[in-house]
Amino acid sequence: MPPSLIAEQLLNGLQLGLMLFLLAAGLTLVFGIMDTINLAHGSLYMIGAYIAASVIEASGSFLLGIAAAIAGTALVGVALEMALLRRLYRRSHLSQVLATFAVILIANEIVRMIWGSQPILLNMPPALSGPVELLGLRYPAYRLVVIGVGLATAVLLYLLVARTRAGMWVRAGASDREMAEVMGVDTRRLFTLVFAIGAALAAVAGALLGPLLAVQVGMGENVLILAFVVITIGGIGSIRGALLASLLVGLVDTAGRAFLPYLFRQMFPAVIAAEAGPAVASMLIYVLMAAVLYFRPTGLFPARG
Protein backbone atom coordinates (compact mmCIF):
# COMPACT_ATOMS: atom_id res chain seq x y z
CA MET A 1 0.00 0.00 0.00
CA PRO A 2 1.53 3.32 -1.04
CA PRO A 3 2.51 5.66 1.81
CA SER A 4 0.71 8.59 0.17
CA LEU A 5 -2.57 6.69 0.45
CA ILE A 6 -1.91 5.99 4.10
CA ALA A 7 -1.08 9.65 4.73
CA GLU A 8 -4.24 10.72 2.93
CA GLN A 9 -6.36 8.38 5.01
CA LEU A 10 -4.73 9.60 8.19
CA LEU A 11 -5.62 13.16 7.25
CA ASN A 12 -9.19 12.08 6.49
CA GLY A 13 -9.33 10.39 9.86
CA LEU A 14 -8.03 13.51 11.56
CA GLN A 15 -10.65 15.59 9.80
CA LEU A 16 -13.48 13.26 10.85
CA GLY A 17 -12.11 13.17 14.37
CA LEU A 18 -12.00 16.96 14.68
CA MET A 19 -15.51 17.36 13.35
CA LEU A 20 -16.69 14.73 15.80
CA PHE A 21 -14.98 16.66 18.55
CA LEU A 22 -16.93 19.82 17.68
CA LEU A 23 -20.12 17.82 18.15
CA ALA A 24 -18.97 15.79 21.10
CA ALA A 25 -17.71 18.82 23.04
CA GLY A 26 -21.19 20.31 23.39
CA LEU A 27 -22.71 16.95 24.14
CA THR A 28 -20.21 16.00 26.81
CA LEU A 29 -20.38 19.41 28.52
CA VAL A 30 -24.16 19.33 28.62
CA PHE A 31 -23.97 15.85 30.02
CA GLY A 32 -21.18 16.58 32.44
CA ILE A 33 -22.66 19.74 33.86
CA MET A 34 -26.38 19.23 33.56
CA ASP A 35 -26.39 15.42 33.77
CA THR A 36 -28.63 15.51 30.72
CA ILE A 37 -28.70 13.41 27.57
CA ASN A 38 -29.52 15.61 24.62
CA LEU A 39 -30.37 13.62 21.50
CA ALA A 40 -31.42 16.86 19.80
CA HIS A 41 -27.77 17.88 19.49
CA GLY A 42 -27.77 16.31 16.03
CA SER A 43 -30.68 18.53 15.08
CA LEU A 44 -28.64 21.62 15.97
CA TYR A 45 -25.93 20.33 13.63
CA MET A 46 -28.54 19.92 10.90
CA ILE A 47 -30.00 23.39 11.50
CA GLY A 48 -26.49 24.87 11.33
CA ALA A 49 -25.91 23.21 7.98
CA TYR A 50 -29.23 24.45 6.58
CA ILE A 51 -28.72 28.02 7.73
CA ALA A 52 -25.23 28.00 6.23
CA ALA A 53 -26.54 26.60 2.96
CA SER A 54 -29.29 29.21 2.69
CA VAL A 55 -27.08 32.19 3.52
CA ILE A 56 -24.28 31.03 1.23
CA GLU A 57 -26.76 30.59 -1.59
CA ALA A 58 -28.29 34.02 -1.00
CA SER A 59 -25.11 35.98 -0.36
CA GLY A 60 -22.46 34.00 -2.19
CA SER A 61 -20.18 34.36 0.82
CA PHE A 62 -19.01 31.21 2.57
CA LEU A 63 -17.75 33.08 5.62
CA LEU A 64 -21.03 34.93 6.03
CA GLY A 65 -22.77 31.57 5.83
CA ILE A 66 -20.71 30.13 8.64
CA ALA A 67 -21.16 33.21 10.80
CA ALA A 68 -24.91 33.13 10.26
CA ALA A 69 -24.98 29.42 11.06
CA ILE A 70 -23.14 30.00 14.33
CA ALA A 71 -25.33 32.91 15.40
CA GLY A 72 -28.60 31.36 14.27
CA THR A 73 -27.95 27.94 15.78
CA ALA A 74 -26.75 29.41 19.05
CA LEU A 75 -30.04 31.32 19.23
CA VAL A 76 -32.02 28.17 18.51
CA GLY A 77 -29.96 26.45 21.19
CA VAL A 78 -30.73 29.13 23.76
CA ALA A 79 -34.42 28.95 22.93
CA LEU A 80 -34.38 25.17 23.22
CA GLU A 81 -32.57 25.28 26.54
CA MET A 82 -34.88 27.88 28.04
CA ALA A 83 -38.08 26.32 26.73
CA LEU A 84 -37.38 22.62 27.22
CA LEU A 85 -34.02 21.37 28.46
CA ARG A 86 -34.30 23.40 31.66
CA ARG A 87 -37.35 21.36 32.62
CA LEU A 88 -35.47 18.11 32.07
CA TYR A 89 -32.30 18.57 34.14
CA ARG A 90 -33.73 16.90 37.22
CA ARG A 91 -35.68 14.26 35.34
CA SER A 92 -34.57 10.70 34.60
CA HIS A 93 -32.29 9.90 31.68
CA LEU A 94 -35.17 8.02 30.11
CA SER A 95 -37.36 11.15 30.13
CA GLN A 96 -34.49 13.14 28.64
CA VAL A 97 -33.95 10.60 25.87
CA LEU A 98 -37.63 10.62 24.96
CA ALA A 99 -38.17 14.37 25.15
CA THR A 100 -35.13 15.14 23.01
CA PHE A 101 -36.06 12.31 20.64
CA ALA A 102 -39.36 14.16 20.24
CA VAL A 103 -37.37 17.30 19.42
CA ILE A 104 -35.60 15.37 16.62
CA LEU A 105 -38.93 14.38 15.11
CA ILE A 106 -40.22 17.95 15.37
CA ALA A 107 -37.02 19.57 14.07
CA ASN A 108 -36.86 17.23 11.08
CA GLU A 109 -40.40 18.08 10.05
CA ILE A 110 -39.93 21.81 10.52
CA VAL A 111 -36.81 21.71 8.38
CA ARG A 112 -38.70 19.65 5.82
CA MET A 113 -41.46 22.27 5.77
CA ILE A 114 -39.03 25.15 5.29
CA TRP A 115 -36.43 23.64 2.95
CA GLY A 116 -38.21 20.64 1.43
CA SER A 117 -37.18 17.00 1.33
CA GLN A 118 -34.58 17.27 -1.44
CA PRO A 119 -30.95 17.25 -0.28
CA ILE A 120 -29.17 20.55 -0.88
CA LEU A 121 -25.82 20.26 -2.59
CA LEU A 122 -23.60 22.97 -1.22
CA ASN A 123 -20.62 24.06 -3.30
CA MET A 124 -17.33 24.66 -1.58
CA PRO A 125 -15.76 28.09 -1.98
CA PRO A 126 -14.19 28.18 -5.49
CA ALA A 127 -10.80 29.23 -4.13
CA LEU A 128 -10.62 26.06 -2.10
CA SER A 129 -12.13 23.57 -4.52
CA GLY A 130 -8.84 22.31 -5.94
CA PRO A 131 -6.12 20.15 -4.42
CA VAL A 132 -2.92 21.46 -2.87
CA GLU A 133 0.53 19.92 -2.68
CA LEU A 134 1.53 19.00 0.82
CA LEU A 135 4.90 17.30 1.29
CA GLY A 136 4.49 15.60 -2.06
CA LEU A 137 0.89 14.63 -1.31
CA ARG A 138 -2.03 16.06 -3.27
CA TYR A 139 -4.83 16.75 -0.82
CA PRO A 140 -8.10 18.69 -1.29
CA ALA A 141 -7.56 22.25 -0.08
CA TYR A 142 -11.04 22.47 1.42
CA ARG A 143 -10.51 19.41 3.59
CA LEU A 144 -7.26 20.94 4.79
CA VAL A 145 -9.14 24.09 5.80
CA VAL A 146 -11.67 21.98 7.64
CA ILE A 147 -8.82 20.36 9.56
CA GLY A 148 -7.34 23.77 10.31
CA VAL A 149 -10.60 25.26 11.54
CA GLY A 150 -11.29 22.12 13.56
CA LEU A 151 -7.88 22.31 15.21
CA ALA A 152 -8.24 26.03 15.93
CA THR A 153 -11.69 25.56 17.46
CA ALA A 154 -10.48 22.65 19.57
CA VAL A 155 -7.58 24.72 20.92
CA LEU A 156 -9.86 27.70 21.53
CA LEU A 157 -12.32 25.57 23.40
CA TYR A 158 -9.57 23.97 25.43
CA LEU A 159 -8.24 27.40 26.42
CA LEU A 160 -11.75 28.56 27.24
CA VAL A 161 -12.37 25.61 29.53
CA ALA A 162 -8.89 25.38 31.02
CA ARG A 163 -7.92 29.04 31.36
CA THR A 164 -10.92 31.33 31.80
CA ARG A 165 -13.16 31.99 34.75
CA ALA A 166 -16.21 30.71 32.88
CA GLY A 167 -14.22 27.59 32.07
CA MET A 168 -13.39 27.12 35.71
CA TRP A 169 -17.10 27.22 36.55
CA VAL A 170 -17.73 24.70 33.82
CA ARG A 171 -15.12 22.34 35.21
CA ALA A 172 -16.36 22.84 38.75
CA GLY A 173 -19.90 22.21 37.58
CA ALA A 174 -18.89 19.07 35.73
CA SER A 175 -17.20 17.49 38.70
CA ASP A 176 -19.48 18.71 41.46
CA ARG A 177 -22.57 20.74 40.80
CA GLU A 178 -23.37 21.51 44.40
CA MET A 179 -19.85 22.75 44.98
CA ALA A 180 -20.26 25.06 42.00
CA GLU A 181 -23.44 26.46 43.49
CA VAL A 182 -21.73 26.99 46.82
CA MET A 183 -18.98 28.86 44.99
CA GLY A 184 -21.67 31.30 43.89
CA VAL A 185 -21.89 30.27 40.26
CA ASP A 186 -25.17 31.29 38.64
CA THR A 187 -25.80 27.79 37.33
CA ARG A 188 -28.95 28.77 35.46
CA ARG A 189 -27.10 31.25 33.30
CA LEU A 190 -24.07 28.99 33.06
CA PHE A 191 -26.21 26.16 31.70
CA THR A 192 -27.73 28.40 29.03
CA LEU A 193 -24.28 29.67 28.07
CA VAL A 194 -22.82 26.18 27.82
CA PHE A 195 -25.77 25.04 25.77
CA ALA A 196 -25.36 27.97 23.39
CA ILE A 197 -21.65 27.23 22.96
CA GLY A 198 -22.42 23.58 22.28
CA ALA A 199 -24.99 24.59 19.68
CA ALA A 200 -22.53 26.99 18.01
CA LEU A 201 -19.87 24.27 17.81
CA ALA A 202 -22.37 21.86 16.29
CA ALA A 203 -23.27 24.54 13.74
CA VAL A 204 -19.60 24.99 12.80
CA ALA A 205 -19.36 21.27 12.11
CA GLY A 206 -22.62 21.29 10.16
CA ALA A 207 -21.60 24.26 8.03
CA LEU A 208 -18.08 22.95 7.35
CA LEU A 209 -19.27 19.48 6.43
CA GLY A 210 -22.07 20.83 4.22
CA PRO A 211 -20.00 20.80 1.02
CA LEU A 212 -18.56 17.35 1.78
CA LEU A 213 -21.79 15.59 2.72
CA ALA A 214 -25.24 16.42 1.43
CA VAL A 215 -27.33 18.81 3.52
CA GLN A 216 -30.51 16.86 4.17
CA VAL A 217 -33.16 16.01 6.71
CA GLY A 218 -31.94 13.32 9.07
CA MET A 219 -28.26 14.20 8.52
CA GLY A 220 -27.93 14.86 12.24
CA GLU A 221 -28.91 11.42 13.39
CA ASN A 222 -26.00 9.30 12.23
CA VAL A 223 -23.50 11.90 13.28
CA LEU A 224 -25.24 12.17 16.65
CA ILE A 225 -24.74 8.48 17.28
CA LEU A 226 -21.06 8.84 16.39
CA ALA A 227 -20.74 11.74 18.81
CA PHE A 228 -22.34 9.65 21.52
CA VAL A 229 -19.89 6.86 20.83
CA VAL A 230 -17.13 9.42 21.24
CA ILE A 231 -18.26 10.83 24.56
CA THR A 232 -19.02 7.39 25.94
CA ILE A 233 -15.56 6.14 25.07
CA GLY A 234 -13.96 9.32 26.38
CA GLY A 235 -15.84 9.27 29.66
CA ILE A 236 -18.97 11.38 29.81
CA GLY A 237 -18.34 14.95 30.96
CA SER A 238 -14.63 15.00 30.13
CA ILE A 239 -13.43 17.44 27.45
CA ARG A 240 -10.02 15.81 27.35
CA GLY A 241 -11.66 12.40 26.98
CA ALA A 242 -13.88 13.74 24.21
CA LEU A 243 -10.89 15.10 22.28
CA LEU A 244 -8.88 11.90 22.51
CA ALA A 245 -11.86 9.68 21.79
CA SER A 246 -12.85 11.87 18.80
CA LEU A 247 -9.45 11.45 17.22
CA LEU A 248 -9.43 7.74 18.07
CA VAL A 249 -12.87 7.16 16.57
CA GLY A 250 -12.09 9.31 13.52
CA LEU A 251 -8.88 7.43 12.82
CA VAL A 252 -10.23 3.96 13.57
CA ASP A 253 -13.30 4.49 11.41
CA THR A 254 -11.42 5.96 8.47
CA ALA A 255 -8.56 3.49 8.65
CA GLY A 256 -10.97 0.60 9.05
CA ARG A 257 -12.92 1.52 5.94
CA ALA A 258 -9.77 2.17 3.92
CA PHE A 259 -7.51 -0.64 5.02
CA LEU A 260 -9.63 -3.48 6.39
CA PRO A 261 -10.99 -4.66 3.02
CA TYR A 262 -7.40 -4.59 1.75
CA LEU A 263 -6.18 -6.51 4.79
CA PHE A 264 -8.97 -9.06 4.52
CA ARG A 265 -8.09 -9.72 0.87
CA GLN A 266 -4.63 -10.75 2.03
CA MET A 267 -5.97 -13.05 4.72
CA PHE A 268 -9.16 -14.64 3.41
CA PRO A 269 -10.55 -16.02 0.16
CA ALA A 270 -11.91 -13.26 -2.09
CA VAL A 271 -15.58 -14.16 -1.56
CA ILE A 272 -15.36 -13.90 2.19
CA ALA A 273 -13.15 -10.82 2.09
CA ALA A 274 -15.57 -8.94 -0.15
CA GLU A 275 -18.39 -9.63 2.29
CA ALA A 276 -16.64 -9.34 5.60
CA GLY A 277 -14.29 -6.41 4.91
CA PRO A 278 -16.86 -3.62 4.62
CA ALA A 279 -19.11 -5.22 7.22
CA VAL A 280 -16.43 -5.34 9.88
CA ALA A 281 -15.17 -1.88 8.91
CA SER A 282 -18.56 -0.28 9.49
CA MET A 283 -18.94 -2.01 12.85
CA LEU A 284 -15.44 -1.26 14.03
CA ILE A 285 -16.07 1.81 16.18
CA TYR A 286 -19.00 0.15 17.91
CA VAL A 287 -16.79 -2.82 18.67
CA LEU A 288 -14.24 -0.35 20.00
CA MET A 289 -16.84 1.26 22.24
CA ALA A 290 -18.16 -2.04 23.56
CA ALA A 291 -14.60 -3.16 24.29
CA VAL A 292 -13.75 0.08 26.10
CA LEU A 293 -16.88 -0.14 28.23
CA TYR A 294 -16.26 -3.80 28.94
CA PHE A 295 -12.90 -3.03 30.50
CA ARG A 296 -13.69 0.46 31.79
CA PRO A 297 -17.43 0.69 32.45
CA THR A 298 -17.30 4.49 32.77
CA GLY A 299 -15.10 5.28 29.77
CA LEU A 300 -11.46 6.24 29.48
CA PHE A 301 -11.53 9.50 31.47
CA PRO A 302 -14.50 9.46 33.83
CA ALA A 303 -15.23 13.04 34.94
CA ARG A 304 -17.05 12.04 38.09
CA GLY A 305 -15.93 9.53 40.67
Binding site: F31, I37, L84, R87, R91, H93, L94, S95, V97, L98, A99, F101, A102, V103, I104, L105, I106, N108, E109, I110, R112, M113, E221, I225, F228, V229, T232, I236, E275, P278, A279, S282, M283, Y286, V287, M289, A290, L293, Y294, P297, T298, G299
Partner: protein, 314 residues
Amino acid sequence: MRDTLYIPLRPWPTLGVVAALALLPLAAATLGQPFYVVFATRVLIYALIATSLNLLIGYGGMVSFGHAAFVGAGAYAVAMLMPAGVASAWLLWPAALLAGAGFAFLVGAVSLRTRGVYFIMITLAFAQMAYYLVLSLRVLGSDDGLTLSNRPSLGLVDLNRDTTFYYAALAILLAALAGMRVLLNAPLGRALQGIRDNETRMEAIGFATYRLKLLVFVIAGAAAGLGGGLLVSLNGLVGPNLLNWTQSGLLMIMVILGGAGRLLGGALGAVLLLVVEEAIAEHTIHWPLVIGVVLLAVVLFAPQGLSGLMRRRA
Protein backbone atom coordinates in the same frame (compact mmCIF):
# COMPACT_ATOMS: atom_id res chain seq x y z
CA MET B 1 -51.78 -8.63 54.25
CA ARG B 2 -51.00 -5.86 51.83
CA ASP B 3 -49.29 -6.86 48.59
CA THR B 4 -48.12 -3.76 46.74
CA LEU B 5 -46.49 -5.48 43.79
CA TYR B 6 -49.18 -8.06 43.05
CA ILE B 7 -50.83 -7.63 39.65
CA PRO B 8 -54.46 -8.76 39.97
CA LEU B 9 -56.40 -10.36 37.16
CA ARG B 10 -59.67 -8.55 36.57
CA PRO B 11 -61.73 -11.22 34.81
CA TRP B 12 -64.57 -9.13 33.37
CA PRO B 13 -62.64 -6.27 31.74
CA THR B 14 -60.10 -8.80 30.48
CA LEU B 15 -62.80 -10.95 28.97
CA GLY B 16 -64.40 -7.89 27.41
CA VAL B 17 -61.20 -6.71 25.74
CA VAL B 18 -60.34 -10.20 24.52
CA ALA B 19 -63.85 -10.62 23.11
CA ALA B 20 -63.62 -7.28 21.33
CA LEU B 21 -60.24 -8.22 19.85
CA ALA B 22 -61.61 -11.60 18.79
CA LEU B 23 -64.51 -9.94 17.00
CA LEU B 24 -62.38 -7.32 15.26
CA PRO B 25 -61.83 -9.30 11.99
CA LEU B 26 -65.58 -9.82 11.78
CA ALA B 27 -66.18 -6.11 12.21
CA ALA B 28 -63.58 -5.27 9.57
CA ALA B 29 -65.22 -7.67 7.14
CA THR B 30 -68.66 -6.23 7.84
CA LEU B 31 -67.37 -2.71 7.26
CA GLY B 32 -65.75 -3.84 4.04
CA GLN B 33 -62.28 -2.84 5.27
CA PRO B 34 -60.31 -6.12 5.26
CA PHE B 35 -57.09 -4.10 5.13
CA TYR B 36 -57.58 -3.27 8.78
CA VAL B 37 -57.05 -6.90 9.76
CA VAL B 38 -53.44 -6.79 8.54
CA PHE B 39 -52.95 -3.42 10.23
CA ALA B 40 -54.42 -4.76 13.48
CA THR B 41 -52.11 -7.78 13.26
CA ARG B 42 -49.14 -5.46 12.95
CA VAL B 43 -50.34 -3.56 16.02
CA LEU B 44 -50.63 -6.84 17.97
CA ILE B 45 -47.07 -7.80 17.04
CA TYR B 46 -45.73 -4.39 18.06
CA ALA B 47 -47.72 -4.73 21.26
CA LEU B 48 -45.76 -7.93 21.95
CA ILE B 49 -42.43 -6.24 21.19
CA ALA B 50 -43.21 -3.14 23.26
CA THR B 51 -44.38 -5.35 26.12
CA SER B 52 -41.02 -7.11 26.12
CA LEU B 53 -39.25 -3.73 26.27
CA ASN B 54 -41.55 -2.65 29.09
CA LEU B 55 -40.38 -5.67 31.06
CA LEU B 56 -36.84 -4.29 30.77
CA ILE B 57 -37.50 -0.57 31.22
CA GLY B 58 -40.57 -0.49 33.40
CA TYR B 59 -39.93 -3.45 35.69
CA GLY B 60 -36.18 -3.99 35.47
CA GLY B 61 -34.97 -0.38 35.20
CA MET B 62 -32.81 -1.47 32.26
CA VAL B 63 -33.19 1.36 29.75
CA SER B 64 -32.19 -0.55 26.65
CA PHE B 65 -31.74 1.67 23.60
CA GLY B 66 -31.10 -1.26 21.28
CA HIS B 67 -34.23 -3.35 21.43
CA ALA B 68 -34.76 -3.16 17.67
CA ALA B 69 -31.68 -5.36 17.24
CA PHE B 70 -33.43 -8.31 18.88
CA VAL B 71 -36.47 -7.76 16.71
CA GLY B 72 -34.10 -7.78 13.74
CA ALA B 73 -32.39 -10.97 14.90
CA GLY B 74 -35.71 -12.80 14.94
CA ALA B 75 -36.86 -11.31 11.64
CA TYR B 76 -33.66 -12.17 9.79
CA ALA B 77 -33.61 -15.67 11.29
CA VAL B 78 -36.99 -16.37 9.70
CA ALA B 79 -36.04 -14.64 6.46
CA MET B 80 -32.88 -16.77 6.19
CA LEU B 81 -34.46 -20.08 7.15
CA MET B 82 -37.49 -19.92 4.86
CA PRO B 83 -35.57 -19.84 1.57
CA ALA B 84 -33.47 -22.68 2.99
CA GLY B 85 -36.59 -24.85 2.97
CA VAL B 86 -37.97 -24.45 6.47
CA ALA B 87 -41.67 -23.71 6.00
CA SER B 88 -43.30 -24.60 9.30
CA ALA B 89 -44.08 -21.82 11.72
CA TRP B 90 -43.62 -24.38 14.48
CA LEU B 91 -39.92 -24.31 13.62
CA LEU B 92 -39.54 -20.77 12.29
CA TRP B 93 -41.07 -18.90 15.20
CA PRO B 94 -39.14 -20.77 17.88
CA ALA B 95 -36.05 -20.10 15.77
CA ALA B 96 -36.88 -16.36 15.82
CA LEU B 97 -37.33 -16.58 19.56
CA LEU B 98 -33.99 -18.31 19.99
CA ALA B 99 -32.24 -15.83 17.72
CA GLY B 100 -33.55 -12.95 19.82
CA ALA B 101 -32.64 -14.73 23.05
CA GLY B 102 -29.16 -15.68 21.85
CA PHE B 103 -28.31 -12.18 20.67
CA ALA B 104 -29.76 -10.70 23.86
CA PHE B 105 -27.56 -13.05 25.89
CA LEU B 106 -24.42 -11.78 24.13
CA VAL B 107 -25.41 -8.12 24.36
CA GLY B 108 -26.68 -8.42 27.92
CA ALA B 109 -23.65 -10.30 29.21
CA VAL B 110 -21.43 -7.37 28.24
CA SER B 111 -23.82 -4.43 28.68
CA LEU B 112 -25.15 -5.32 32.11
CA ARG B 113 -21.71 -4.71 33.55
CA THR B 114 -22.39 -1.01 33.04
CA ARG B 115 -25.05 1.14 34.65
CA GLY B 116 -27.08 4.25 33.98
CA VAL B 117 -26.33 6.24 30.88
CA TYR B 118 -23.47 3.94 29.93
CA PHE B 119 -25.95 1.09 29.71
CA ILE B 120 -28.17 3.16 27.42
CA MET B 121 -25.19 3.89 25.19
CA ILE B 122 -23.69 0.40 25.06
CA THR B 123 -27.00 -1.20 24.12
CA LEU B 124 -27.27 1.43 21.40
CA ALA B 125 -23.77 0.54 20.22
CA PHE B 126 -24.59 -3.14 19.92
CA ALA B 127 -27.74 -2.36 18.00
CA GLN B 128 -25.74 -0.19 15.63
CA MET B 129 -23.29 -3.05 15.12
CA ALA B 130 -26.16 -5.32 14.15
CA TYR B 131 -27.59 -2.61 11.89
CA TYR B 132 -24.35 -2.13 9.99
CA LEU B 133 -23.81 -5.87 9.82
CA VAL B 134 -27.08 -6.52 8.00
CA LEU B 135 -26.63 -3.36 5.94
CA SER B 136 -23.30 -4.53 4.55
CA LEU B 137 -23.81 -8.29 4.26
CA ARG B 138 -25.04 -9.29 0.84
CA VAL B 139 -26.33 -12.65 2.10
CA LEU B 140 -28.74 -10.59 4.17
CA GLY B 141 -29.76 -8.50 1.20
CA SER B 142 -27.85 -5.35 2.23
CA ASP B 143 -29.96 -2.21 1.67
CA ASP B 144 -32.82 -4.03 -0.01
CA GLY B 145 -33.32 -6.61 2.68
CA LEU B 146 -34.92 -9.98 2.06
CA THR B 147 -38.34 -10.87 0.70
CA LEU B 148 -40.34 -14.01 1.24
CA SER B 149 -42.75 -15.41 -1.31
CA ASN B 150 -44.98 -17.13 1.22
CA ARG B 151 -46.07 -16.99 4.81
CA PRO B 152 -45.02 -19.92 7.02
CA SER B 153 -47.45 -22.77 7.44
CA LEU B 154 -48.97 -23.64 10.76
CA GLY B 155 -50.17 -27.20 10.32
CA LEU B 156 -53.87 -27.27 9.49
CA VAL B 157 -54.22 -23.51 9.92
CA ASP B 158 -53.56 -21.41 6.82
CA LEU B 159 -51.55 -18.34 7.79
CA ASN B 160 -51.88 -16.96 4.27
CA ARG B 161 -55.38 -15.98 5.27
CA ASP B 162 -55.08 -12.63 7.02
CA THR B 163 -57.73 -13.45 9.59
CA THR B 164 -56.00 -16.65 10.66
CA PHE B 165 -52.71 -14.83 11.05
CA TYR B 166 -54.48 -12.22 13.14
CA TYR B 167 -55.76 -14.87 15.55
CA ALA B 168 -52.34 -16.51 15.75
CA ALA B 169 -50.77 -13.15 16.66
CA LEU B 170 -53.53 -12.44 19.17
CA ALA B 171 -53.03 -15.82 20.83
CA ILE B 172 -49.28 -15.22 21.10
CA LEU B 173 -49.74 -11.73 22.54
CA LEU B 174 -52.24 -12.94 25.14
CA ALA B 175 -49.97 -15.82 26.09
CA ALA B 176 -47.04 -13.41 26.45
CA LEU B 177 -49.02 -11.04 28.66
CA ALA B 178 -50.26 -13.91 30.81
CA GLY B 179 -46.71 -15.23 31.08
CA MET B 180 -45.41 -11.81 32.03
CA ARG B 181 -48.05 -11.48 34.74
CA VAL B 182 -47.07 -14.86 36.19
CA LEU B 183 -43.39 -13.92 36.06
CA LEU B 184 -43.95 -10.55 37.76
CA ASN B 185 -46.09 -12.03 40.52
CA ALA B 186 -43.49 -14.71 41.18
CA PRO B 187 -40.50 -14.12 43.48
CA LEU B 188 -38.41 -13.41 40.37
CA GLY B 189 -40.66 -10.46 39.54
CA ARG B 190 -40.34 -9.01 43.04
CA ALA B 191 -36.59 -9.38 42.86
CA LEU B 192 -36.56 -7.66 39.46
CA GLN B 193 -38.47 -4.67 40.78
CA GLY B 194 -36.23 -4.54 43.82
CA ILE B 195 -33.23 -4.33 41.51
CA ARG B 196 -34.91 -1.52 39.57
CA ASP B 197 -35.37 0.46 42.77
CA ASN B 198 -32.06 -0.19 44.53
CA GLU B 199 -29.62 -2.59 42.93
CA THR B 200 -26.81 -2.22 45.46
CA ARG B 201 -29.10 -2.97 48.37
CA MET B 202 -30.42 -6.04 46.55
CA GLU B 203 -26.88 -7.38 46.30
CA ALA B 204 -26.38 -6.64 49.97
CA ILE B 205 -29.33 -8.86 50.89
CA GLY B 206 -28.08 -11.74 48.78
CA PHE B 207 -29.48 -11.37 45.28
CA ALA B 208 -27.29 -12.30 42.31
CA THR B 209 -28.44 -9.14 40.53
CA TYR B 210 -26.30 -9.50 37.41
CA ARG B 211 -27.59 -13.00 36.74
CA LEU B 212 -31.21 -12.04 37.40
CA LYS B 213 -30.97 -9.04 35.08
CA LEU B 214 -29.34 -11.14 32.38
CA LEU B 215 -32.08 -13.73 32.65
CA VAL B 216 -34.78 -11.10 32.22
CA PHE B 217 -32.81 -9.41 29.42
CA VAL B 218 -32.73 -12.72 27.56
CA ILE B 219 -36.46 -13.31 28.13
CA ALA B 220 -37.22 -9.86 26.72
CA GLY B 221 -34.87 -10.47 23.80
CA ALA B 222 -36.62 -13.75 23.08
CA ALA B 223 -40.04 -12.09 22.99
CA ALA B 224 -38.70 -9.31 20.77
CA GLY B 225 -37.13 -11.91 18.46
CA LEU B 226 -40.43 -13.72 18.21
CA GLY B 227 -42.06 -10.39 17.40
CA GLY B 228 -39.55 -9.86 14.61
CA GLY B 229 -40.24 -13.35 13.26
CA LEU B 230 -43.97 -12.61 13.26
CA LEU B 231 -43.43 -9.26 11.51
CA VAL B 232 -41.47 -10.75 8.64
CA SER B 233 -43.95 -13.62 8.38
CA LEU B 234 -46.77 -11.10 8.09
CA ASN B 235 -45.17 -8.64 5.69
CA GLY B 236 -43.05 -11.06 3.68
CA LEU B 237 -40.12 -8.66 3.75
CA VAL B 238 -37.47 -7.34 6.09
CA GLY B 239 -34.88 -4.60 5.65
CA PRO B 240 -32.10 -3.09 7.74
CA ASN B 241 -34.42 -0.23 8.72
CA LEU B 242 -36.10 -2.59 11.16
CA LEU B 243 -32.85 -2.40 13.16
CA ASN B 244 -32.30 1.32 12.88
CA TRP B 245 -31.79 3.16 16.17
CA THR B 246 -34.89 5.25 15.52
CA GLN B 247 -36.86 2.01 15.67
CA SER B 248 -35.47 1.39 19.14
CA GLY B 249 -36.50 4.95 19.97
CA LEU B 250 -40.04 4.36 18.73
CA LEU B 251 -40.31 1.21 20.84
CA MET B 252 -39.25 3.25 23.87
CA ILE B 253 -41.87 5.85 22.99
CA MET B 254 -44.53 3.15 22.94
CA VAL B 255 -43.53 2.01 26.40
CA ILE B 256 -43.61 5.53 27.83
CA LEU B 257 -46.84 6.49 26.05
CA GLY B 258 -48.56 3.39 27.37
CA GLY B 259 -47.00 3.55 30.82
CA ALA B 260 -43.70 2.01 31.85
CA GLY B 261 -44.00 -0.46 34.69
CA ARG B 262 -47.64 -1.31 34.01
CA LEU B 263 -48.51 -4.75 32.69
CA LEU B 264 -50.41 -3.40 29.70
CA GLY B 265 -48.20 -0.33 29.22
CA GLY B 266 -46.31 -1.64 26.22
CA ALA B 267 -49.42 -2.95 24.49
CA LEU B 268 -51.40 0.24 25.06
CA GLY B 269 -48.51 2.35 23.82
CA ALA B 270 -48.15 0.30 20.65
CA VAL B 271 -51.87 0.63 19.92
CA LEU B 272 -51.84 4.34 20.62
CA LEU B 273 -48.75 5.18 18.59
CA LEU B 274 -49.58 3.05 15.56
CA VAL B 275 -53.24 4.06 15.43
CA VAL B 276 -52.43 7.76 15.77
CA GLU B 277 -49.69 7.41 13.16
CA GLU B 278 -52.07 5.63 10.78
CA ALA B 279 -54.78 8.23 11.35
CA ILE B 280 -52.53 11.28 10.85
CA ALA B 281 -50.46 9.83 8.02
CA GLU B 282 -53.61 9.88 5.87
CA HIS B 283 -53.85 13.62 6.26
CA THR B 284 -50.30 14.95 6.34
CA ILE B 285 -46.83 13.83 5.41
CA HIS B 286 -45.62 15.71 8.45
CA TRP B 287 -47.09 13.19 10.87
CA PRO B 288 -43.82 12.73 12.81
CA LEU B 289 -44.28 16.35 13.91
CA VAL B 290 -47.55 15.44 15.59
CA ILE B 291 -46.01 12.34 17.20
CA GLY B 292 -43.15 14.51 18.45
CA VAL B 293 -45.46 17.08 20.01
CA VAL B 294 -47.60 14.38 21.63
CA LEU B 295 -44.52 12.63 22.99
CA LEU B 296 -43.13 15.87 24.35
CA ALA B 297 -46.42 16.62 26.06
CA VAL B 298 -46.54 13.14 27.59
CA VAL B 299 -42.97 13.32 28.93
CA LEU B 300 -43.50 16.79 30.38
CA PHE B 301 -47.03 16.56 31.68
CA ALA B 302 -47.99 12.87 32.03
CA PRO B 303 -44.82 10.95 32.84
CA GLN B 304 -46.87 7.93 33.96
CA GLY B 305 -48.20 7.48 30.42
CA LEU B 306 -51.69 6.55 29.33
CA SER B 307 -52.22 3.88 31.99
CA GLY B 308 -51.12 6.42 34.60
CA LEU B 309 -53.76 8.86 33.36
CA MET B 310 -56.45 6.19 33.39
CA ARG B 311 -55.44 5.13 36.87
CA ARG B 312 -55.58 8.66 38.17
CA ARG B 313 -59.12 9.11 36.91
CA ALA B 314 -60.24 5.73 38.21
